[in-house]
Symmetry: C2
Subunit: 450 residues, 2 copies
């Protein structure tokens, strides 16, 4: 790529070509997958550019377009499928400096895309509000990265995933064109950038709905039997009078890896991790009485940086805790059938004893309570991994394959959203944004000739 000409064009926008920067900022958590680890290890950016504001973004984009240099946005870089790895090199656009809270109103916040989830909550909670949901990577991830690369997380047990209508209020988006345009996508239109890996425009700002900032209580309940933990979790999930933010049944031996929660995770027991609204904790304990669990931990949540939060044992952090003690593992992302969660969990459990360790996250999808899961798998070969995936599907458990880099292959539906594909042609006619991630896209002949 004509880097000298590009750098001249972007003027005083900060950039770096330091080899350590290039290396460090071309990676994310794709190493979770032994398959992707192999596939992506040599991909590297030519330059890291760090815009200070939207004007900088416009300038960088115009220069990229002019010189036909691909651009890959980068937020907290916690993606698990190489979402922000620059497959064809070029520019990595580091959004970290665009991190301002623009305004807050009751129930809404408007932020620059690079604001960290942790900082947003820290600034909205004093006003009685917080983000409806965040990934377990709240302390590292940015709101733009979550919207463009994530799916849901802590809070989805109440509000569903990021994709549910109403969970993104508006997105401000810059197109990749000769004369870049700025779109303000409101309501449903904002879904055009949701989980599109930045292939459908660069998000510069987001308006997000907020949830009431309840006083949360962190809870650990230990069970002899994993299925009992699921059953109780489901009872709480279905109790609409009980306010909750996490309900995660986790199968032994996974809790063995939880350094920070060690004293509350007895040897041999499966656990339910939960965040419960303070006013609902008595009800939670009363309902527990009809199940075989033992409450081992109950403490007000305190989301401060020098303490490992409860949520960093759930979602894909459960996998991470195990990685810390055992590297020979990998994982899947699954959705259990909502009418037979326990049956399907049992089917897999029986078939892959010791090889597959399950943990669930209760979440709402399309108005129904169900459970997603990120089973941890002792890794041997790609063939065996695909065999295990087949078994999940045979048990009616849906899979979003995390061992692939394209949107389509990673989706449960094996296709990209039609609206996103249409919008892609509008905002990135040449396919310069995060190339290689949207397989269904090929530039139109007339756009390439232009």
């Amino acid at each position: 790529y004509p880097m000298e000409a590009f750098l001249a064009d972007i003027g005083d926008v900060p950039w770096s070509r330091e080899p350590t920067d290039l290396k460090r900022k071309s990676r994310d958590y794709y190493w979770y997958s032994p398959i992707l680890a192999e596939q992506l290890k040599d991909k590297i950016a030519d330059v890291i550019v760090t815009p200070r504001d939207e004007a900088d973004v416009l300038r960088v984009v115009a220069a990229c377009y002019r010189h036909r240099i691909p651009l890959t946005p980068r937020a907290g870089a916690t993606g698990n499928y190489g979402q922000c790895v620059p497959m064809e090199g070029g520019v990595v656009l580091d959004m970290a400096e665009m991190n301002k809270i623009e305004w807050q109103k009751p129930g809404r916040v408007r932020v620059q895309a690079g604001a960290k989830l942790f900082d947003i909550d820290a600034q909205t909670r004093p006003n009685g509000w917080e983000l409806r949901m965040h990934p377990s990577t709240k302390r590292m991830s940015q709101i733009g990265g979550f919207v463009a690369g994530g799916s849901g997380g802590v809070g989805s047990v109440t509000y569903g995933g990021m994709r549910e209508p109403g969970n993104i209020l508006a997105a401000r988006v810059v197109s990749m064109e000769e004369n870049p345009r700025v779109y303000e996508l409101r309501g449903d239109a904002a879904q055009k950038i949701s989980r599109a890996y930045g292939t459908t425009g660069i998000i510069t700002a987001l308006e997000m709905p907020l949830a009431p900032a309840y006083d949360w209580i962190d809870v650990v309940v230990a069970f002899d039997d994993f299925h009992e933990a699921i059953r109780f979790g489901q009872a709480i999930a279905m109790a609409d009078g009980v306010i909750k933010k996490i309900l995660a049944p986790i199968e032994w031996p996974l809790p063995e890896n939880f350094a920070a929660l060690k004293p509350y995770c007895p040897e041999g027991k499966s656990v339910l991790l939960a965040m419960i609204g303070e006013m609902s904790i008595d009800t939670f304990e009363t309902l527990l009485e009809s199940y075989g669990g033992t409450l081992t931990y109950k403490t007000p949540s305190e989301d401060v940086l020098n303490k490992v939060p409860l949520y960093e044992h759930t979602w894909n952090h459960c996998t991470l805790q195990m990685f810390k003690v055992d590297r020979a593992i990998t994982y899947l992302q699954v959705l259990y059938p909502h009418e037979r969660i326990i049956e399907s969990v049992a089917e897999i459990g029986a078939k892959f004893k010791g090889e597959v360790m399950q943990h669930l996250e209760f979440i709402r999808i399309n108005g129904l309570m169900t459970a997603s899961g990120i089973p941890v798998i002792r890794y041997s070969t790609p063939e065996r991994l695909y065999e295990i995936m087949d078994a999940f599907e045979a048990a009616d458990i849906k899979i979003a394959n995390p061992h692939v880099i394209t949107l389509e292959d990673g989706s449960r539906y094996k296709r990209v959203d039609a609206d996103q594909l249409g919008f892609k042609h509008e905002v990135d006619p040449l396919g310069l944004l995060n190339p290689g991630k949207m397989r269904s896209f090929t530039p139109k002949h007339e756009d390439v000739l232009r």
Copy 2:
């Protein structure tokens, strides 16, 4: 009853034996049912007693017990089945003076039982909170009357009914004994007084969970077809990212009776009435685009006494609006099967065209979104009414019969909760509390002898 002795015993506790007071305070909204209207018209109290505090209640109760005089608590008297009609005369205990807010904390409020729902909300909203749910009689009902006589209402689309675990945090209850005891029932135990019509003790105070006081928007959407209104209502009901408090599809010609909403209810159209969180209104409108409805009204909710609120067209207020123009009607209380709401609505619609007019309230029950309904019925004879009820049941629609006075007959399960019956023996061994309402209760021989 030995009234003179009783009055001497209660000392300075305020009371009245004025015939107009006795008449007025022995009635509720039982006249909704032509069957109950006939059955209850002559029931009358011997004295109305108005306690100022719990000490007064204890004194009155002890005197009732001593002289074997029945006592029936009375709150806002909006019950529809004669819940606060003194079947055997005696004392009516008017709770209106015990109306203080004891304290507020984030997410919780503690109030005396006689506090009006309207006043509670007025005092919690400035702090960012409101009751999770209220009946459409919010302006008349008291919290004690709602807990003891109601089931759910505005807000149940999110939190489920009053019976869902966690929707009552604690109840303070006085027993009917020689030496009355005061119970503090916390958590699940508080369900012992839920919808028990005051037969299981006199509630003097309640601790209730609160919901965030969103800025609500009142909305009316008009549809050519009632089923479309239901379909759209259900889509919003299932959208967990859309904050809502009411979702009520109402079949034409019922909206014809809505004086205050007349301009927004076009001739011949069925409507959906909704209360939507301000931050979700764009999403609501976007989703509406794929349905055939027309938004005719969209205004911030303003719950002030000189304005008819939107919610006074939903739940049993829909019936009341029709009563104002046509007395020859009655109603049922039903629960549609959640997996085939529209089909069952259609079945009844086809069978009783012009005779049965349906309106639905989306609510959560046991974690599932479903629809309750209060169909309005052109009344001819009791036989025909029971015929219609049979048809509902044949269509898989459950009925809570509102034309009967006992807890058991009015329940979908035709029995009183086992815990309540057990508790009844403990707190009211002689059956002096609201006699005639709990059919399964007969005093134990040893209690009567004592």
